[in-house]
Symmetry: C2
Subunit: 434 residues, 2 copies
């Protein structure tokens, strides 16, 4: 078999041998390099990754298209495993209010917070939401993300949650980027249920979940387990119901208060628990045992000026699998760019550049149960490949603030060339972000 | 007189009335908005800024080129008032070493630190340095910087300091961006003078400074006043000599230790003192009296994971003029992007978005003694104007990680359109940063 695409003369960086399970503990950041390296692609999959020019040539024919990477970095596409992708309306005014010292309760009273986005997302049509979503996907792709998880949770009525998830489904059809949908009806208690928590939990379990499952709109179920959101018991009930519909489980856990979400995630065998700023060592031990991935969101922690940081060293020491993600959302992290996230992972959470790399590729793939098919450059995997104008992996978090993406290959197709979209009609460009 | 360029239908944001002196204290962040707003440009200068369509029309003729901003943000070009622009070689390996916990002295012993860049800059030809410099200027311009200060200080021999400054002069001729050159022979003690501090200070004063002045290569003189660099007395001697050659004075002050640089800067009537993480309140009072601008470098502080932060509140309370800058350099802040710097100014140093804006435009212009000619959109000023794909000023620090620049106008000429260079042969693009 001959390759249909050859990426030649690159500095290839990838993890290898972690397709069955994430990099744990001191192995996080084990990255292999081939320079010069050659990536051969056939029919959307990686045929071979090699350092041998002769071997690369033997699998190339006259129909093989060639990209000369000229020493640039060649790496797997980023996997952004935690976002709230589909919404209407930005909230830069709240960003400014926080900096001016306005207390959170006053921001809420002024119509701010999650419910602000809920109101505007409910008011938006599917077409409007789709436009926003496609524009955000464009911006992500331009920055090198090739797979993204996306949650509902700004609808909070059955109709509006379904609307968000249908938009994600439609976006998946129209856009080259892979979108992994998560149902998160339990993101906040909607105002119309403010005196009736049990009623809303019942709505999520008895009405939303069955509809979501029936229409096949989600792969995961997520809950915001927090003082101001859902209790441990409510979270357990909702996730257990989600499990009954064969959804994978995720949990926003221990972000603001040490409620015990990490323990619950482990107990339920959740695929991931996220944020985890206040997770205790004992609960992290349980996560290590259950193999639950800790998804860290360093940009959010930085942007919220959180003094406390997630216990990353404990996680690595205990063998908790660690991934990082943008948390892209209009309230606390309007960040689509996984390159810049590398900087936050390193500087705010103390990962090394190699650890941040693995946490954004192979481990993030495992956080979406896709470790066997994406997240590394290995024969047989989906051909999601980036060429970056960077001389080394370390250059990415170091050289912050510019988009280093040169070429993005998604499923074997070239979708970004020299930092510009090159598929179909595209959408908006990076200079008109949403 | 008719305008030759009209920027119509923008959301115009600018300071007004601070051309004679910076915004001080609680006035920092006083920004005016016109929406819709019209900016009329004639012969490289701003003719009028108005909210009146009729008035804009009355100054437009058939030869007036029009840019429809369509509600986008229209603002003055960013002034980056502290960079080390001209160098050879990146140092991402040291970034990684710091994160791996390698002590600074070991990094130095491994050939790292400023002297690493000195070695590579000395070895580089003028042509190589010029290439690097032009590429960095391209990246800056693409991100909306229209004036940049640039220091020597990686040569540390007379010939190599002159080489750096000549490269900056040549870059100024070839590139639309305005480059303000600073002589900083006293950036570090070169290894060949390690036993002879007095000898090097003498070289700076008696050989370098006269040559720099004779060739008219610098507008400012700067010194790294720090425990591991130059003492207060050495700094005073060098700056006093610089003053004798009619150079404006700047000072790297109190970054790592409270040596008293802020006081020295005030005493010498320096235009600016920079970093200032450890500056005492008493010394800041002196700076307020002398009108010395505090140039804060929040990206550097963030990237060095510095626990201590510059005393911003004290500065504002005491009426010290505050500006912010990238500190672009290969060791501690490889950041060219003033948009992302807004985020660091807000999140790491606690400025509001409006304060960060004024600190990056009008106050930064004053830090370069150019407050009367750039830094705001006011009639008579140089037409350095940005159109950003942002609905508000607050959106810039909030929506981090993508380049919002739509159009850059430099001296009345359109030099960036839709985020792409549009002058002469350009240089490299943003996706090949240097």
């Amino acid at each position: 078999m001959k390759a249909d695409l050859l990426i030649a003369n690159g500095r290839v960086v990838t993890t290898r041998g972690f397709s069955q399970g994430p990099q744990l503990g001191s192995r996080l950041g084990e990255v292999e390099e081939l320079s010069p390296g050659y990536v051969l692609i056939s029919d959307g999959r990686i045929l071979l990754v090699t350092g041998s020019f002769a071997e690369a040539r033997s699998l190339s024919g006259s129909d093989t298209r060639e990209i000369d990477a000229r020493g640039r970095l060649v790496m797997p596409g980023y996997v952004d495993c935690h976002t709230h992708l589909s919404f209407a309306g930005w909230r830069e005014n709240e960003f400014a209010m926080r900096l001016a010292g306005v207390p959170y309760l006053e921001i809420l009273a002024a119509g701010g917070g999650i419910l602000n986005t809920v109101r505007r997302t409910r008011a938006a049509t599917e077409a409007e939401l789709l436009d926003n979503t496609l524009a955000a996907l464009d911006a992500m792709l331009l920055c090198g993300t090739t797979t993204v998880e996306a949650k509902s949770g700004y609808g909070l009525t059955t109709a509006d949650e379904l609307k968000q998830l249908r938009v994600l489904k439609e976006a998946r059809c129209r856009h080259p980027l892979d979108v992994v949908p998560t149902f998160m009806g339990a993101h906040a208690l909607p105002p119309e249920y403010s005196g009736n928590r049990a009623g809303y939990v019942r709505l999520v379990i008895e009405e939303m979940l069955p509809r979501v499952a029936e229409e096949g709109l989600a792969e995961f179920c997520d809950v915001f387990c927090e003082d101001k959101a859902f209790t441990l018991d409510e979270s357990r009930a909702i996730l257990s119901a989600g499990h009954g519909y064969k959804l994978g489980l995720r949990l926003h856990a221990d972000e603001i208060t040490p409620l015990g979400g990490a323990k619950l995630a482990a107990e339920l065998g959740a695929v991931s628990a996220e944020h985890l700023i206040h997770a205790s060592r004992a609960h992290l031990e349980l996560m290590a045992k259950s193999g639950t991935v800790a998804v860290l969101l360093p940009a959010t922690a930085f942007l919220l000026r959180s003094e406390k940081k997630a216990p990353v060293k404990d996680m690595l020491e205990l063998g908790v699998p660690v991934a990082v993600a943008t948390d892209f959302n209009p309230g606390t992290s309007p960040l689509v760019n996984m390159q810049l996230l590398q900087t936050f992972a390193c500087i705010h959470y103390g990962l090394t550049p190699r650890q941040a790399f693995a946490a954004s590729t192979i481990n993030a793939a495992h956080a979406l149960r896709r470790g066997a098919t994406i997240g590394s450059l290995e024969a047989g995997k989906q051909a999601d490949v980036l060429v970056l104008a960077a001389p080394s992996l370390e250059f990415i978090p170091y050289h912050l603030g510019v988009n280093l993406v040169h070429t993005v290959i998604k499923g074997g197709q070239i979708v970004v060339t020299k930092g510009a979209l090159s598929y179909g009609e595209g959408g908006k460009t990076q200079t008109d972000p949403l």
